[in-house]
């Protein structure tokens, strides 16, 4: 009897410890948390455009079309890596892609796009990173999928890899 009274709490304690240890060890990347803006309207903003003399109006740009919004900068190495997939969205899949140039040097950005190719139909300049905060961005690169009613359907924090590119295409098919 006495033995059992010691056994039960010990087993209980060890199992709690095991659960906590498991939670500690498994890879829980908070950037994989779904965006808090999911299924909400994409935040509106007005900014300078990198390619145009006219102002960038998000209300005008994120309307009537499925759109991919990509936060990027020339100083960000993963942005360069994912650029080939961003290009494939616009050239192969004919999806409208909007760029948001995050805390960057505009002249460098223009040269960078000339060199690597420009998949963006328009680019907003986010000089101080305020648009990014409004969109709940953790760090660039970050890419959002917006449906034709201007609602955020998916957010990927981090570089777009082949796997993520495929996932985006599946989601685009779903919401189309």
């Amino acid at each position: 009897m006495k033995n059992q009274l010691i056994k039960i709490p010990t087993i209980l304690f060890l199992s709690i410890l095991l659960v906590l240890f498991y939670l500690l060890v498994i890879d829980r990347d908070p950037s994989k948390l779904p965006s808090n803006l999911l299924n909400k309207n994409a935040p509106e903003f007005v900014a300078d455009s990198l390619l145009d003399n006219e102002k960038f109006l998000s209300k005008k740009e994120l309307n009537n079309n499925i759109t991919i919004v990509n936060f990027f900068a020339t100083w960000c190495a993963p942005c360069r890596e994912e650029h080939v997939y961003i290009k494939r969205f616009s050239s192969e899949k004919k999806i409208k892609v909007i760029g948001i140039n995050y805390k960057d040097n505009p002249e460098k950005a223009i040269i960078w796009l000339k060199k690597l190719g420009n998949p963006y139909s328009n680019i907003a300049i986010d000089k101080k990173g305020k648009i990014a905060i409004d969109w709940g961005v953790y760090g660039i690169p970050e890419t959002f999928l917006i449906n034709s009613s201007g609602i955020i359907k998916y957010r990927h924090a981090g570089q777009i890899t082949k796997k993520i590119y495929k996932k985006f295409n599946l989601l685009i098919k779903e919401i189309n």
Binding site: M1, P9, K103, G129, K130, I133, D134, G136, Y138, G139
Partner: protein, 138 residues
């Protein structure tokens, strides 16, 4: 031996003190109005740095933490109250940005499990004592 232990304890104590005093707010960020600055510091201490995750934005020198600190100060200057600022941040980044999880249905277990464990423990001890008394008597 004893003096060595005291020395080690002192070092730990001092390390703890210096840890509590460290913050990353840069001089040019500080607001002139002391009351407003104190409010900004207080909010910043409760906001998680999303890049470093186990630090508050008050302690972190990550660029995003700095941006968020500036944003909080701008909002305070614009006359927003603390509630509005917290709401602005959680609307965009979710409850994850708060270092103190709010009391909600989804966080019920987080807040109450320790009490439940405590009560269960007390009950187990109580029952055990009662039983052993009963065994002794018979």
């Amino acid at each position: 031996m004893i003096s060595r232990n005291i020395l080690i304890a002192t070092i730990f104590f001092l390390a703890q003190l210096s840890y509590n005093n460290c913050f990353a707010v840069e001089p040019n960020e500080i607001l002139e109005n002391k009351k407003q600055e104190a409010r900004a510091r207080n909010i910043s201490k409760n906001i998680r740095c999303l890049v470093c995750q186990n630090q508050s934005i008050d302690e972190s020198s990550a660029p995003l933490a700095k941006d968020l600190r500036n944003l909080i100060r701008e909002k305070i200057k614009d006359g927003d109250d603390d509630k509005e600022i917290y709401l602005f941040l959680t609307d965009r980044y979710g409850d994850f940005i708060l270092l103190n999880p709010p009391f909600k249905l989804s966080t019920f277990a987080l807040w109450f499990l320790p009490f439940i464990f405590f009560i269960t423990g007390v009950l187990i001890i109580f029952m055990h004592k009662k039983k052993s008394k009963w065994i002794k008597k018979n």
